[in-house]
């Protein structure tokens, strides 16, 4: 892999974000924290898309992760952010390990539909459960991170810095995974599943592993997002949330592990601007951008980055 500068860029981005954690204004830290959380979910989606599968139901794990983290703090009385993230990731991974047994057999539109159905079941249950605040959801608040007390005022920065380190560690791992034997099988599956089987590899296992990883990442993203926002509601599991993740994934493309984060940051940045100046054409601009990407940049924005570095 000559010319792969992902690792140095990864380190640089991590450093820049740490500086931002210390110096950037509060609103920017918030925005970046949210982009980081969504980037994680989309990273999982990219794993699936590499194998040619589009899930319209990542909201299931996003919502589950968010609620698991929030319930731990709100009902369990454990307000350590690290524990909450572990809980969110763990719950999502466990559910993905079960549902994955089924979903790994599905392809194309049927995969999209079944994952959509599962996420809507969670949504339907959350909306009607008055104990969990129904459509309003409820608030959560973390007071510690892995044993360290989060002081008021700087808690967001500290928490963000910690999540940057954690996320970038993960991203590095996934980058290694995608370059490995198994990681490359995913792309082969998208191209021709039958041939992969004939060559002696198990398509089912690769898809299953990708699915569970995607679920875990979405759960972790959900926990991160819940902690960043300080609130959870059933909207996290609704199909429009899942659609948003698909959008961010298409925008960034599946070319690199950094693409989802770049794309999520652009997405959140644009949303902030649009909310301020043109709230009524936000979705429309999303739709137009998506069409433009599908037509002219099927590899997503990442192709632009690649092209420049190739030149």
């Amino acid at each position: 892999m000559s010319g792969d500068r992902t690792i140095p860029v990864l380190a640089l981005a991590c450093l820049l974000l740490l500086v931002a954690a210390a110096l950037a204004p509060q609103w920017l830290v918030f925005l970046l924290a949210l982009a980081l959380a969504k980037g994680l979910v989309v990273l999982g989606l990219v794993l699936l898309m590499r194998a040619g599968l589009v899930s319209f139901g990542q909201g299931l794990y996003f919502g589950l992760g968010a609620y698991a983290a929030a319930l731990l703090a709100n009902r369990g009385g454990l307000d350590d952010a690290a524990l909450m993230i572990v809980a969110g990731t763990g719950c999502a991974a466990a559910l993905a390990a079960i549902l994955g047994l089924l979903l790994a057999r599905y392809r194309e539109i049927f995969f999209a539909m079944l994952s959509l159905a599962f996420s809507m079941i969670l949504y339907g249950a959350l909306v009607k459960s008055s104990a969990l605040g129904s459509t309003d959801g409820f608030n959560l608040h973390a007071r510690e991170f892995a044993g360290f007390a989060l002081a008021g005022g700087t808690e967001r920065r500290l928490f963000f810095a910690a999540s940057v380190v954690l996320v970038f560690g993960l991203v590095w791992l996934l980058h290694r995974y995608l370059a490995s034997h198994w990681g490359r099988l995913s792309v082969a599956i998208r191209d021709n599943e039958l041939r992969v089987e004939y060559l002696g590899a198990s398509v089912y296992r690769v898809v299953y592993a990708n699915y569970v990883a995607a679920g875990a990442l979405a759960g972790m993203g959900g926990a991160f997002a819940a902690l960043a926002v300080g609130h959870v509601d059933p909207e996290t599991a609704y199909w429009t949330t899942s659609g948003e993740f698909v959008f961010i994934a298409i925008l960034g493309g599946t070319g690199n592990v950094l693409a989802p984060f770049l794309s999520a940051a652009i997405f959140e940045g644009l949303r902030t601007v649009a909310n301020q100046y043109a709230p009524n054409v936000w979705q429309m601009s999303l739709g137009l951008a998506m069409l433009a990407i599908i037509m002219f940049l099927p590899g997503g924005l990442w192709t632009l980055v690649r092209r420049r570095s190739a030149a």
């Binding site: 089924l102 194309e108 079944l114 339907g124 249950a125 009524n280 137009l288 069409l291």
Partner: protein, 298 residues
């Protein structure tokens, strides 16, 4: 007993409305292999158009019975304008790509239309209660039901029968079935596939709009009404089997009755049950309850 009867009746009313939505969706999928997320926006467009022209008709002092014609006109208008616009302007350029890419394209169309609706009609709710109140009520046991619900059922039945007849008994319908069966051979035999696509999509759009137009008198027409409808109609067509008209009818009946039973006996599970049924069907018979298994393609 009359309690159960009322619940079942409610379910059938809901099913009729679901069927109108699902018939359009399943028709488009059957012919074009496009799972149309923008279907919900077409439903919303139908509702808004109906509320606007129906309201204008009544405001002009014309006889209120004519407002029913306005509901039908709204559906036709949306079909004639939006069908060709979306099919020729957008989808035509995407044929030959993966089904999933087409799904994303219609998702983009949905996002665009959602805001377009807000820009045209604003964010205030539109109301058109007259057609709903006009025919009065009838009774099942001790409960009053609006006669409008009977109209809804009748329209759904007539639509279903007309569609089935047009598909199986007319020349155009048989050409369409040929295209569903094998697009390339049909084109080679001289069938104008491009026109079949255009007509199918427009009819599907009109059906979605009809669902919206008929719902408009019973609801407050406001932004976002299409969002929920999409997943609901997905659930229906998936239960019945993508691309099957009879499947859409049975799927609508199943989902409608299950929902109305849930609403009566276990209200917390209203949304939950619908998608539970959808997931169960996908697990047991991915291609729907009423469809033949597809041969494996290499």
């Amino acid at each position: 007993m009359s309690d159960l009867l009322a619940v079942l009746f409610d379910g059938v009313v809901y099913s009729s409305w679901l069927f109108l939505m699902a018939a359009g969706l399943t028709l488009i999928y059957g012919v074009m292999k496009i799972l149309n997320i923008a279907h919900g926006s077409l439903y919303a467009l139908g509702a808004y158009t109906a509320a606007t022209i129906g309201g204008a008709w009544l405001a002009a002092g014309h006889p209120p019975i004519g407002s029913y014609a306005m509901l039908a006109l709204a559906a036709v208008l949306v079909g004639v304008v939006m069908g060709p616009l979306l099919e020729r302007g957008l989808l035509k350029w995407m044929y030959g790509r993966d089904e999933v890419v087409l799904l994303l394209v219609t998702y983009a169309a949905f996002l665009i239309l959602e805001d377009a609706i807000k820009l045209v009609w604003g964010v205030e709710s539109k109301l058109l209660p007259e057609p709903y109140a006009l025919p009065g009520n009838f009774q099942i046991g001790e409960l009053d039901f609006p006669v409008y619900n009977l109209i809804l059922i009748a329209v759904a039945i007539v639509t279903g029968v007309v569609l089935a007849w047009a598909l199986h008994r007319t020349r155009q319908g048989k050409l369409l079935l040929a295209v569903i069966h094998d697009r390339e051979i049909s084109a080679a035999l001289g069938i104008n596939v491009s026109r079949v696509y255009l007509v199918t999509f427009s009819v599907g759009a009109a059906l979605a709009a009809l669902g919206g137009a008929l719902a408009a008198p019973a609801i407050a027409v406001s932004p976002g009404i299409g969002v929920e409808v999409i997943v609901l109609s997905f659930a229906v067509v998936v239960v019945g089997g993508l691309g099957s008209l009879g499947g859409a009818a049975l799927g609508a009946l199943l989902v409608g009755v299950v929902r109305s039973l849930a609403v009566r006996y276990w209200p917390e599970a209203e949304l939950f049950t619908i998608y539970f049924v959808m997931a169960l069907v996908l697990i047991a018979r991915p291609r729907g309850l009423f469809s033949a298994p597809e041969a494996r393609r290499i």
